[in-house]
Symmetry: C2
Subunit: 203 residues, 2 copies
């Protein structure tokens, strides 16, 4: 159900515009999908719509936030205080959407001790203590590919059950741990594939 957050974002826009109810058709348009898909997806949450009318924006938002577990903040830890890690620590979108960056962690002693964009930098070895202390449930891997698996193991060992991996490497996690990945360069490679095929079609 990776589309729920997109619906939620659309609902939030509607709410800002003081719109009280919305049809599946309108919501589909905003989310860039098919109306039937919206109804199927929402029906999975329960029967929150009213036939002939649509969905109550506020009520649906609430139910959806509850289902997504967004009724409270989820502090996150970022492992890797390099370029990407620092950038992510400074990215306002995380805090704004309920994922404050509680700590940065790095394997290099040189980077440890200070603050980056207001976020304290700790050593990898302190991960278990930090997890207990700050109670983060989500870890973000922003290290080079070579360190990714090791970091994933350390996060899992520290009790972190959700991992978002930015390193360009395939990693495995224990049963019961959720894993998602974002490979920035991979996205560009997919685009270059389409470019190449556009060009071929034109020739």
């Amino acid at each position: 159900m990776a589309r729920l957050p997109v619906y939620l974002r659309s609902l939030s826009e509607l709410h800002d515009d003081k719109i009280a109810t919305v049809s599946s058709e309108r919501l589909a348009e905003m989310a860039g999908v098919n109306a039937a898909k919206v109804r199927k997806d929402l029906s999975y949450l329960g029967s929150y719509g009213t036939r002939g009318v649509g969905y109550d924006v506020e009520y649906l938002s609430f139910q959806m936030s509850r289902e997504l577990g967004l009724t409270h903040d989820w502090p996150v830890v970022i492992v890797g205080a390099g370029n990407l890690g620092q950038a992510l620590a400074n990215y306002g979108g995380f805090r704004q959407r309920g994922f404050p960056v509680a700590a940065l962690v790095d394997a290099s002693r040189e980077k440890v001790g200070g603050y980056i964009h207001g976020v304290p930098v700790h050593h990898m070895d302190d991960l278990p203590a930090l997890a207990a202390d700050l109670g983060f449930a989500i870890g973000i891997i922003a290290t080079p590919a070579s360190a990714a698996q090791e970091v994933a193991d350390a996060l899992a060992a520290a009790g972190v059950r959700s991992i978002l991996n930015f390193a360009p490497a395939v990693i495995t996690v224990p049963e019961g741990t959720s894993l998602r990945k974002v490979d920035l360069a991979l996205e560009l490679q997919v685009l270059s594939f389409y470019q190449e095929h556009q060009d071929a079609d034109e020739a």
Copy 2:
């Protein structure tokens, strides 16, 4: 075929390890997928394997790079010189994998003129001229959500046919333009959903 880049990365690792041939089984393990899927995917490129032996790492890499359009660099332009845009400009992974950042572009005159991490910062209005000059085919949107559609339109107007959108907004592009999106906070929201459901299962 969003899996091809993953295979390519695995092939590159094998090449570094001086391994000349690889079976679909081994490649599947490295890429974290099923062996039959690897064979299906690769057969789409052509019959490059040898029965009883496997695939020639170097030859397959070459064919795959060609198919993906990675035989030459694709310069990219990043629109939005805020936190995220600057971070992406500084992210080594792009250049390293053949996507040099040719320019940063912003709507604010204050940011225009200098260099950020060695990348020149230009004004939005210069986009068409820059496109003609630097020949970028890929644009990265790293603006706030409110500006995303406008930027997409400007990129399309400047002849950019591939867009990677980091703004948390649904945007539309003209027919013939490729669009991919990365929503960082959305990934965390999906993870929080799984967290919530893990917890529920344990209770």
